[in-house]
Amino acid sequence: MVLETAILIGLLFSVATFLILQKSFVRILFGFIILSNAANLFVLSMSGSPDGKDGPVVLSDQPMVDPLPQALVLTAIVIGFGVTAYLVILLYRIFLDHKTTNIDELYAEDLFNEAGAEQVNFEIEPANAREAKEGGS
């Protein structure tokens, strides 16, 4: 059980790394999802081998697995879910703005150099840009 888990975690990490290094957004997104799951599984595996042990739900005579990593992983899953939701929306917004899902095309023309600096909204606060457009409400 320990060895299989270790192999699975390693496999998930390698797949995640491979996907994150791809050029398409969608693959990068899947890469991050797999990465967070691999990390969760790693934390879960810290409760040790469950062979011959009970789940930590009701008291019994048998020894129980360590419940703490399970509590930790619940929190980590929730956080990972929230961040993934944000990432999906951000990538969708980038897709809507630039009509591409390819990193190379997206960052091709403009490194943040002089030309890039020109493109930035130089107002003090983004809200001021709106004020300027509306003629100072």
């Binding site: 994150i20 691999a38 990390a39 990593p69 943040f112 606060e125």
Partner: protein, 510 residues
Amino acid sequence: MNIAAFPFLLPFLTAILLLIWRNPSDLRRNFILASVIGQNILAGWLIYEIFTTSKPIVLAIGGWTPPLGIVLVVDLLAAIMLALSSLMLLGCVLFRYVSVSSSIEHPLREPLVQFLVAGINLTFITGDLFNLFVAFEIMLIASYALLTLEADDWDVKQAFPYLSINLVGSALFLIAVGFAYGIFGTLNIADIANTALSMQDDPRVTYLGLMLAVVFGIKAGLFPLYFWLPNSYPILPASLGALYSGMLTKVGVYVLLRTFTTMLPESLSGVHLLLAWMAGFTMIFGVLGAISRNFVRGILSYHILSQIGYMVLAIGLFTERAIAACIFYIIHHIIVKATLFLIGGAITCLNGTDNLKKTGGLWAVAPVLGVCFLIQAMSLAGIPPLSGFWGKYLIFVEAVIKGQTVGGYYYFLVAAAVLAGILTLYSMLKIWNEAFWKPAQPGHEPRLDDKRWVGMTAVISFFCVISLAIGLGAEGVFQVADKAASMAMDQDMYIQAVLSARGKGVAPSP
């Protein structure tokens, strides 16, 4: 009454209240200001209390006796950081009040700033490694949201690298936490320190140290891991740029301090040396990047990196005086860097741009702003008697002592630090020449009819005075920093203070 939880609770409850009280108005702003001033008073009182009693304040949450439950620990280092984060919050809030009228403010911006500060404060006061992870996530999620709030398509594109590197960092942090639990069987920082004392030569502890150095190196912006920072910070509005540049990377430095001084044993000299070399490269590459930029926020964003190098170099030297110098440097740097970002905002307001080719003519119309910039820029470069000089001086002295006693290669790090200081002066003079001394460029004459710059200059002068006071009263500040360093490095005292804390009930049987 135990007030250890209040530095987290105050901004957190304020944020929740602001979510309910949605519509921005002047009354809402006054309420926020009152809350922020309350946070400042609380942090100041914490420093005074801990400095006089020399004992950390420990709160066992939910009555669970340590090391079983979550504990909050406020020692002097944490109290100093809390004071700095509340001070930066005050500056950020005031600067926005003078630069944006409440009628056009986004309703979510203020609550998100409060959530961000709640996360930062929880990072400082937590005494538990997993709780540290949660605090980081609160802070990061708020920072993602603020980075892309009201962002245009260019901003969103620059936010993506910030998000991705932090996602990888979070995953690595989670693995490091799991790893620490696997090694020590506990996540309480005091209990880990206690267990690690008897595992000095265990290679797994070294491995954990390396992993944490990578994770927090990403947050702090250390040499091979900093590429996300210089492009993502310039998309922030000036007030938030000040808060981010002041606090977010320094959270990484604080956690490096906390893990390597309080949590892990002193015997990890290999990891310390690695940190020192990473710091040396960070200084040089950061300052070279700053020279290559020609807009104010870009230059300042790269300077965050080169200054981080000095602090982490001090951690890498790992003597008590060096840690004290690091804390002194953090105090100096947060205030100076945030003020410079605010000055960048004022330049943008006056000239309509912060591209150095188009700015100019500010010395003639805004000499107070010019004097403030000069003081802060010289302080950043390390000209005596300003605050930056004392921090740099102490770090140089410690590095030279290490060079004499340990190995000559420390002299390379001293040389790198001196070089970075000189190049910092060069790039600061570039801003000075182009924005203040150069005559105004056609089409970008200073817009004096826009009266916002007067209020901005007032906020900037306030921080300038604080920075001057740190430089001129360096002795007093250094005594506080020295005491914070000795408390942070005194593992026995920390372990004793945390593990002797009792919750309300009896101690549960293991």
